[in-house]
Structures are given as structure tokens and as C-alpha cells.
């Protein structure tokens, strides 16, 4: 068999690139595997709504959301509120990652704008239901 160095080098580069592209693709989608494991979220995997981002909430974040509800007051959960006021209350109660938490809550639609300049707790949100259950148990 004749050895053609150019063909060898060309194939080599292509194979290495293919391998790394496959790896990058797998890495980019690895989080979806866990998402699929959660049957409740199955529908969301196949809907590509622009604003609905794939965000995972760690155990720590759950307890932070729980704290935020306590600071807000679970008895006031049906009331509309001004976001800057809520942020101020969270900061003054010692939450140093308030903006990150608010960002996650908005993206996960735990809180959403009411269309009149204020915000509202989205009681249909699965995450909020889960957290509220824990808060009410305590």
C-alpha cells in the first residue's frame, strides 16, 4: 500500500476535529440527560421557547428561594410587589447573592411581571409549589 502523507494528515485532522466536535456536542447536552430523568420536565425539553432557559436549581438554591419566601412572608404570597423593594429587603437581610437569586427566579418564572409595573409570585410554578410545601410544613 502506498503511503500518502497528505491524505494521512488530512484524515488525522478531520478525525481529531470530529472527535472533539462530538465531545463538545455531548458536553453541551449532558445537562439534558438529567433533565430527561425528571419526568415532570419532559415537555420542556422538546419545546424551544426562547425565554424558557434550561436552568438547574441546586439544593442550595432551593433553600435560598425558601429563605426569600420567608423574608417576603408566606402569608403575603398572593400580593403584588415592587421588585426593587423586594431586592432591598433581601439585601438588608444579609443575602449577598440577591441579584443572582432574583435572576434565577425570573428565568424559572417563579416570579413574573403582572403587566402593571409590579411582580407577582407565580403559584403555578413547579419549583415554587415544591418550596412552598417545605415552608408550610415547617
Amino acid at each position: 500500500m502506498d503511503f500518502n502523507p497528505f491524505i494521512f494528515a488530512g484524515y488525522g485532522i478531520i478525525i481529531v476535529f470530529t472527535g472533539m466536535i462530538v465531545l463538545a456536542f455531548a458536553v453541551a447536552n449532558i445537562k439534558r440527560i438529567f433533565f430527561l430523568m425528571d419526568k415532570n420536565k419532559m415537555k420542556n425539553v422538546f419545546t424551544s421557547q426562547k425565554n424558557k432557559q434550561l436552568i438547574f436549581i441546586s439544593k442550595n438554591k432551593y433553600s435560598e428561594i425558601q429563605d426569600a419566601i420567608k423574608i417576603f412572608g408566606e402569608e403575603n404570597i398572593y400580593q403584588h410587589f415592587f421588585l426593587p423593594e423586594f431586592i432591598e429587603r433581601l439585601i438588608s437581610s444579609g443575602k449577598n447573592n440577591t441579584y443572582e437569586l432574583i435572576d434565577i427566579m425570573i428565568k424559572k418564572e417563579i416570579i413574573s411581571p403582572d403587566g402593571e409595573g409590579q411582580f407577582l409570585w407565580n403559584l403555578k410554578s413547579g419549583v415554587l409549589k415544591k418550596v412552598l410545601k417545605k415552608v408550610l410544613k415547617k
Binding site: 502523507p5 488525522g12 485532522i13 481529531v16 472533539m20 455531548a26 458536553v27 449532558i30 438547574f56 441546586s58
Partner: protein, 378 residues
Amino acid sequence: MENLLLSFWHNTGFYLVTYKHIIMQFIAFFFLYLGIVKEYEPLLLIPISFGMIMGNIPIPEGMALGVYDKGSVLYYLYQGVSKGVFPPLIFIGIGAMIDFSYLLSRPILILLGAAAQAGIFITFLGAHFLGFSPLESASIGIIGGADGPTAIFLTSKLAPHLIGSIAVAAYSYMALVPVIQPPIMKLFTTKKERMIKMDNELREVSKKERILFPVVGLILCSFIAPGALPLLGMLFLGNLINEVELTGRLAEAAKGPLIDIVTILLGVSIGASTQADIFLTIKSIKIFILGVLSFAVATMCGVLFAKIMNLFLKEKINPLIGAAGVSAVPDSARVVQLVASKESPGNYLLMHAMVPNISGVIGSAIAAGVMWSFLGGY
């Protein structure tokens, strides 16, 4: 009595020494100087250069002392190199030390680790046209991967007679990353490009993802390039035992005592293999020249590919991070940070550069596997 003394004299280094031994001792001192005074990769260069001193002490014929003399201690230590055993052991330690979180949070940057591997294949062509055989050319090209264990592993399989020169070239160029890379990085980028700031907010990577990645990564990469299995298997195993808390003890052993012991044995035996008669040849000089070219071409490919990616990306990446694709973990990522912060103080690129840097390790192992698969039958 006189004959006895004369025979003793004939067996001493003072009688047996040649100019080649002296040249090699000077080279060893130079590497020792780089390691101790300049602090270039001291953990590698000091054992290697000390091994060079040991390997170039003139020894009388018939005494099994040298690395190539069957029955000598050095001979048995060298089996770890020549049979390709040490590199995978080092990879367990590297795997246990690597944090794949950055890579998992910015997978697009993995492509930069692939681009830098083009340098390996381009140098392969250069070596081939300089008269090296395909097997030798592949072993020389892999120096551009800037990954010592990978270079040794592939050379042990394809061109074992070149292990000494290739290992010394690979490790010395890894040590010289801060000298070799910056001029090339500057040559292929504009000041404006070097000042690009990248978003430092990375996605939070869950523990589950970090545990699943080594398993998925191994299966995917090894299915594509089975030749990379010994290296990638150990790399990903090291990473898995580090991520799983239950195997914390194993991870500590892998990234501590294991990698240290193997590095000492590997360094000394490689150094000792650079005996004057084998090392001081025109071939070795060519290998050193091609090695540095391979390194430079790999750096250039990484930087240029980053620029190409910028044509398609909304959020521009700093092309300097492409240079980190040559692996050499974490030195080339540090060099990227250094060059970027010189241009624009406060520009923090280290964690972005770690992605191509780590994927470069995987990429060079795949490249080695591909070369072995293609050329193993020659």
C-alpha cells in the same frame, strides 16, 4: 599489582570520557540551570537533567549499568518508558487534578483544543519531507501536542529508538512555553483582539454532570480513536475518582504520591536514555528543530482558529485563548493570562483558557490514538 591498578584506571570515567560525554554533561547542566534557577518546570527538568548526568557517566564495557544494558537497574526503570507504562499512570494523576467544570460550562471552546492539534499533523508532513519515516514523523509531530506523556507513549509504540530525543524535546518545550508562545500569539493577533474581554459568568455545573462527563467522554473519544484508550482511560478514571467523594482517598493518592513517584522514575530514566552516542546525532538536532516548529505551528493554529470562530460568534472570544489548545496544562493557560493582562490589566482570561488547555490534553491523546491506529501496521 601494577596491572591491577592499570585495569582499575582503565575502568574509571577519567580514562573512558570522550568529548561527547562532556557535551552531554554541559547540556544536562543547562537543563538543570533552567529547572533550578529559571524555575522552568522544575519537577520535570530536574529529574530529567539529573538522569542525563547519570546516563552520560562513562562506563566500562561489560558492566550492566546503563539504561540500555540488560540487567541494570536503569534498564528496568526504563521499561516503564519503553513499554509505554508510565504515561498512562501520569494521566491518572493529571485526571485527578483537572477540574472539568470550565469545559462543561463553555463546550464551544473545546474546538480550540482540536484546532491546535493541526500543528501535529502539519509537523508530521514537515518531518516526512525531511526524510524521516512515517513512524518517526508521527512521533516528532506529536511534540506539538505539548504533552510529554502522550509524546512518550506514542513514540514508545511507533519509534522507540527516538524516545530519548523526543521526550527531552517535548518536556523542554513544555518548560519553555512562556518563552516560545508569546511572540507567536502577538504575531497573529492585533492589539484590539488581545484586549477583548470575555464574560466571566460561567454556568453552574452540577456534581452529576461532573461525574457523568468522564464516563461519557471516555466512551465517545475511545470509540472514535481506540488507540487513545490507555491514555484517556486513565485520564478520565483519575477525574472520576476525584469527583466521586467516596473515592477521595484514591484521588489523593493519584494526584499526590502516584504522579510524583512516576514523574521521578520517568524523568530519571528518560534523562539516562540520552546517552551521547544515541543523542548527539543530526537526527536529534532535526527533532529539536522540528519540535519547536511543531509547537509554534500548534500555537498558531489555535490562535487562528479562534479568529475564525469570531467570524461566527455573537460574543467574541479573545483569540489568545486559542494558544492554550496546545495542552501543557496549566502553563499555556497561564501564559495566555499573562499576555492578556499585559495588554489590558484586569482582563481575566485564565478560566476561559483552561477549556482549550484541558481539551488540548484530550485532543492530543486522540491525535496520538489516530496516528497509532493508522501507522501501527507499518
